[in-house]
């Protein structure tokens, strides 16, 4: 069953098609939610909530653009709503530098290729902007609209997030030249 057949099956509320769609996309979507909320239990709850919306609002998917992209936007919205409710998503307008409690050791720096652990160490504002800009591919203007901040704040949060991440991981982990 290809993706279009799965989508058609889900439109007809065919349970088997819905389960296949779930099996196919759930791991990726939990990964996405984990990048935003940082813990497995909340990420799975958000993935289920997002999947429920995907399956009940599948008629709203026009067929233009990738289905996965449409699904990802729904998941990102779920995560942002969750963070807003938790009042953790509020981004400080002041670009204060957050000093980590403990500098990672050389060994930790090498081991921390796991992006979840790295992103989890970022303040929420940095993490949101970095995720939305670098991984989801949103523009600063869109991020500003979504998070209710200025474009300049979005840009500066990104610069600070990159700076923090560079400080946490050894350049050899990501540098293609080395």
């Amino acid at each position: 069953m290809n993706e279009n057949e799965l989508i058609e099956g889900c439109r007809r509320q065919n349970r088997k098609a819905q389960q296949k769609l779930f099996d196919h996309f759930a791991p990726k979507m939990i990964g996405l939610c984990m990048r935003y909320v940082g813990n497995r239990r909340d990420a799975e709850e958000l993935m289920i909530e997002g999947m429920f919306k995907v399956m009940t609002k599948i008629d709203q998917y026009s067929g233009n653009g990738s289905f996965e992209g449409w699904m990802r936007r729904i998941m990102v919205n779920e995560c942002l709503m969750f963070l807003r409710k938790q009042k953790e998503g509020q981004i400080s307008l002041e670009d204060t530098y957050y000093e980590p409690s403990k500098a990672p050791s050389a060994e930790e720096r090498l081991m921390e290729a796991d992006i979840l652990a790295l992103l989890d160490r970022l303040p929420t504002g940095y993490r949101l902007v970095f995720n939305l800009y670098v991984i989801e591919g949103y523009k600063h203007r869109e991020i500003a609209d979504i998070l209710g901040i200025s474009i300049n704040t979005s840009k500066s949060q990104l610069i600070l997030a990159r700076k923090r991440l560079r400080a946490m991981i050894a350049p050899s982990t990501y540098n293609t030249d080395s």
């Binding site: 009940t56 970095f130 030249d177």
Partner: protein
């Protein structure tokens, strides 16, 4: 954006692409139960919605008919006088015409006398 930033971004994009976390075994049954509840609610709606509309239409019709029949007529508003009273009976009309004719002829006869 310098090359170091580009490399960092690329690294995170690649890692994020490969980030697959299998859901717990309870995840699908949970979603399935929600979908089941939703579809049974939807099916109840599809059955009951036409019935609700039909019931509402019948109720409106009954109200309209009862308002129409129970509404006071204009005659009863005018202190119990019926509209029929204002209708001149054909016989009465003939009597009136006859009287008018008599009065006119009397007028014609009496006119020369009055001039005199």
């Amino acid at each position: 954006m310098n090359s170091e930033d580009k490399d960092l971004d690329r690294h995170f994009q690649q890692e994020a692409e490969q980030l697959d976390i299998p859901p717990s075994p309870a995840a699908w049954p949970k979603l399935e139960r929600r979908l089941q509840r939703r579809s049974s609610r939807d099916s109840r709606r599809t059955v009951f919605r036409p019935l609700t509309w039909a019931a509402a239409a019948v109720a409106l019709l009954v109200i309209a008919v009862s308002v129409f029949t129970l509404l006071p007529r204009p005659a009863s508003i005018l202190g119990g006088q019926s509209i029929e009273l204002e209708f001149v009976h054909p016989e009465r009309s003939l009597v009136m015409e006859k009287r008018l004719a008599e009065a006119y002829s009397w007028y014609q006869i009496s006119e020369p006398d009055r001039k005199r």
